[in-house]
Symmetry: C2
Subunit: 219 residues, 2 copies
Amino acid sequence: MTDAEYLLSFLQEKKVPTITKKRHKYLAYQGCEQTCTYVLAEGVVKTSVILRTGREFNIAYLKAPDIISLLRDEVSHNPPAPFNIRVETQSATFYQVERVVFWKYINQNARLQSYVKDYYRRKLIESIYQQQLMTTNGKRGAVCGFLTTLIDNFGTDTPDGILLNLSVTNEDIAGFCGISTRNSVNRIMHDLKDQGILDIRHKRILIRDLSRLTDLIGE
Amino acid sequence: MTDAEYLLSFLQEKKVPTITKKRHKYLAYQGCEQTCTYVLAEGVVKTSVILRTGREFNIAYLKAPDIISLLRDEVSHNPPAPFNIRVETQSATFYQVERVVFWKYINQNARLQSYVKDYYRRKLIESIYQQQLMTTNGKRGAVCGFLTTLIDNFGTDTPDGILLNLSVTNEDIAGFCGISTRNSVNRIMHDLKDQGILDIRHKRILIRDLSRLTDLIGE
DNA sequence: ATTTAATGTTAACATTTGTTACGTAATGGT
DNA sequence: ACCATTACGTAACAAATGTTAACATTAAAT
């Protein structure tokens, strides 16, 4: 049992209430905005912020188990940008805890404490890597790099390659890689398909040649 | 006295040895590579990694006081990329502590513990903001955004605007913003100069119109 | 003082990416 | 079944950025 799984079972034992949202619904912070912490118990969500230009910048796909609100608290700059959490799987379930109670739980339990301590460290590693990926590559390299980062959480091996078991639209990719419109994404993806590096199977991305995909990333 | 300053005085009291390096020298991890932690006591350093393509990706300017090695430990991916620390001021001084000893100190002291706990959180905020900046902007917006991030640590008000009291070459900017050559940076900087937004005074960047500079950033 | 290396400047051209417009196909709600 | 919505595909053109090269200027090394 991982530390994260331990957190879930801990919250369950404490009879913390859960809420469930359907695909493409948003976890709104109505009422409980400032006072509640959310822990993703099941499903996948996409976190993003809306920039003042109206464009959406996607931060990460989070797969259960994960602590949603820790990230949220840190990302919202001042003035806090609207932080979106959209359900990407058929449904997603969250534990909803009063912030004060959540931290009381954490501080009373050594294992949870160490988990949270590690949380920021891991997110920092991910973030710096992403930053490097997006900064040092052109848009095409950024897309290739982004796709490879999905493998760990969502990739499943098949005879034809690695299938990313997640619905990712061109618009989503644009939001992650800072590409202005889905048209440019389409051009890049089509290129990769033509080269036999990628394919689309049942609306899912199939990485047919990971080696050549990573070759297109600067680092 | 900030927590960071407290850490410095703490290390001084413990008679932890320091090392001093001159401008544009590198803090090499010779011998003490795995076992030592470094704390920047005075000066400014630039942290960067060299990508397999040979290009340099600049991560941050760190101003004393700061803990160098925490960042280093996390950035080096596997296989660990060479993590460079270059002195940017006339000289820089570091405390050099055995890693085991360093953590013993931290864990024995509540204030230091809270400082380190906060360290990752702050770095994560910075990193996600940087990521957003570099991803959602074109190169020109990235440069504008990068320059504004320098204001907090290095900006001093003058009658003509905000002077960035730090030597930043076009090549440096390229490394931070993922611009391939200093030529493209020059084009962008020259543009900003022509518009009266920037100026160069004694080899330093002078931000003459912050408002118009930020206007050029997507968010 | 002289030489060497680092940095800035400019320009021409190639490549990538953005922008806009229009069309098709699939999906979901009523 | 119908309509509205969402997503994908394609293309022409504009704008930004990369690439390369040549040369000027400044800082560092000897």
